[in-house]
Amino acid sequence: MDLTLNEEQLMFKKMFADFCTKEIRPKGEHIDQTEEPPEDVLAKAVDQGFWAALVPEECDGCGMDVYTFTLMLEELGRADMSTALILSVHNCLVVKPLLEHGSDQQKAKYLEALSVGERLGAFALTEAGAGSDAAAIKMTATRNGSGYVLKGSKNWISNGSLAGLFLAFAKAEGGITAFLVEPEMAGVKVGYREKTLGLRGVPANTIYFDSVQIPEVNRLGAEGKGMEIALQALSLSRLGLAAIALGAIERSLEEAVDFSMEHIQFGGPIALKQIIQNYIADAKTQIEALRSLVLRTAWLADSGQEYTQEASIAKLFGSRVAYEVTNRMLQVHGGYGYMKDYAIERYYRDCRALEIIEGTSQIQQFLIARDIYKAKGLEIRP
């Protein structure tokens, strides 16, 4: 067993840290306050290869392994969670499924555009009546002459208004099926943008598919393979969210440590108070536990092993810890932590999303428990 980073990983890590700290971190407050999607930051991230993180080198991508990719998300999470989520969705939920299930023709058509910043990916699964119960989607894909007609609408689609390519899921005759939908196709409409507690730089929109004619070549994988594609992609993105959570709580700890050394009460910095020290020590402990979990799960993925359950665990644990740590680090700030002038206020709101998006904690708990019982021969249902 060897947990050290190899030379390439080290180089990447340094590059991520440099770029995120210099280019993204200073923008975090502005992104949150204006709620403007960080388009300039995303454009700069193209040159760093953030859009093509998982694309193999032979296709002009970065060819990162999963572990390196989690390092990237960690640094992004430390700098700004909105930017981190946008890139996580793009890479995990659109680029990766295209790489794994796309035909050569599909890759030829979209991979470059996705890599060079021309098309940002968005994952269109959730509907108003199908949140945790993803299989309950109502959008339909009806076959006609040259392909399919998509009818329905999707809610809460991250990257919605920025998207250059939707990976959309609809019910076809053979079951739930994945489609690559371009926003310029006739009938695709970007609707209402949600106003959210946090992650305010991520546009989350309703997307209408109003009798969209899709050529058959834009079907990703076979008919009926949609849920499998979605779940596989979600596994990676759940690991990705854990990595973002890790970056977020590292940042929260940094903020709280700095504040506690500067803020004087009872004649000295509050850092000298035992309760503050305890909060800080607990946070650090949770950070390192999460880091190990992310690392091991990434290793499973990189060594080609099954990691679906571990991804759920990482997401469940990471999001819970993210809440607990940001909550405590806010408490260290006292009244200042409640004011928008301090980054911890933003991180507290941003992190709350992690327990909800891409499968609520309750769904992760269900998935984990289901696997445990399944191994013993008992089938449980949601």
Binding site: E127, A128, G129, K138, N155
Partner: protein, 259 residues
């Protein structure tokens, strides 16, 4: 002006769950409140008091617990409160109730104006105002939506076919008011405290009112209750709120209910 308001305490309908399908009524929370129609009657009266000054006396026939409704009337702005309570009233039907109330009004030396709700929030008979007016031989105006005072008279706007009519009634008179036309005010907190701590509710029984057995003999007898037939189910829209709302709006537009 001396105004007597007739009020009634009712079981809070918000605490009752009616299951038509099982033909059962569940009382989840047994709480008695000042009926909304009585509150409207009080409001109409208090507006007259605000406009031109008046002495407002609240009057209620009921069980001892109805004292709470009278105290609420005091909190809302009443000047005095009388509870008419006696085991002999327990079997009272509407004519008997009207007799008791009219006797109390007379014992109070009569009034310039008697105000009641159009109907009660529980039994909804809508007869009390008229019967009390008959018993006292006062003028009466029912279902009043606007009420103002004039020297020796009141001016009242009541429902009239599809519209309204305004009438003038010489005092003494009885008016019953429409619940929807007089949304009640909030009681001032200090008056709420004083209604229980400082102010009194006077209780009169049958003997105090000089009512004998004959006057309390009901003309009606209660013989049970039944549920109305189930409502026919119309078109139902199901699903998540957002999509259901969308569907509903589309359906309403198709039927030209909305534009």
């Amino acid at each position: 002006m001396k105004i007597i308001v007739l009020i009634k305490q009712i079981l809070d309908p918000a605490g009752i769950l009616v299951r038509r399908d099982k033909e059962k009524m569940f009382i989840n929370r047994e709480e008695y409140i000042l009926g909304p129609d009585s509150k409207a009657a009080l409001e109409a009266t208090l507006r007259l008091k605000d406009a031109g000054g008046a002495e407002v006396i609240a009057l209620s026939m009921g069980r001892p617990r109805a004292e709470d409704a009278l105290r609420e009337a005091l909190a809302l702005g009443g000047d005095a409160a009388y509870l008419l309570s006696d085991e002999a009233f327990d079997a009272a039907d509407i004519p008997v109730t009207a007799n008791v109330l009219a006797a109390a009004v007379q014992k109070l030396g009569g009034a310039d104006l008697v105000v009641a709700g159009r109907e009660s929030g529980d039994t909804s008979a809508g007869q009390i105002g008229s019967r009390v007016a008959e018993a006292l031989n006062y003028a009466q105006v029912t279902d009043v939506h606007v009420l103002t005072g004039e020297p020796g008279a009141i001016r009242a706007t009541r429902r009239w076919g599809g519209g309204y009519a305004t009438v003038q009634a010489m005092l003494p008179a009885v008016v019953t008011v429409a619940r929807e036309a007089f949304p009640a005010r909030y009681a001032h907190g200090a008056r709420i405290m004083n209604a229980y701590r400082e102010w009194q509710v006077t209780t009169w029984n049958a003997a105090d009112l000089g009512l004998d057995e004959a006057a309390l003999k009901p003309l009606l007898a209660f013989r049970g209750e039944s549920f109305p037939p189930p409502l026919p189910v119309g078109e139902q829209v199901k699903g998540a709120p957002a999509s259901a709302a969308h569907e509903l709006i589309t359906a309403l537009k198709l039927q030209k209910v909305i534009g």
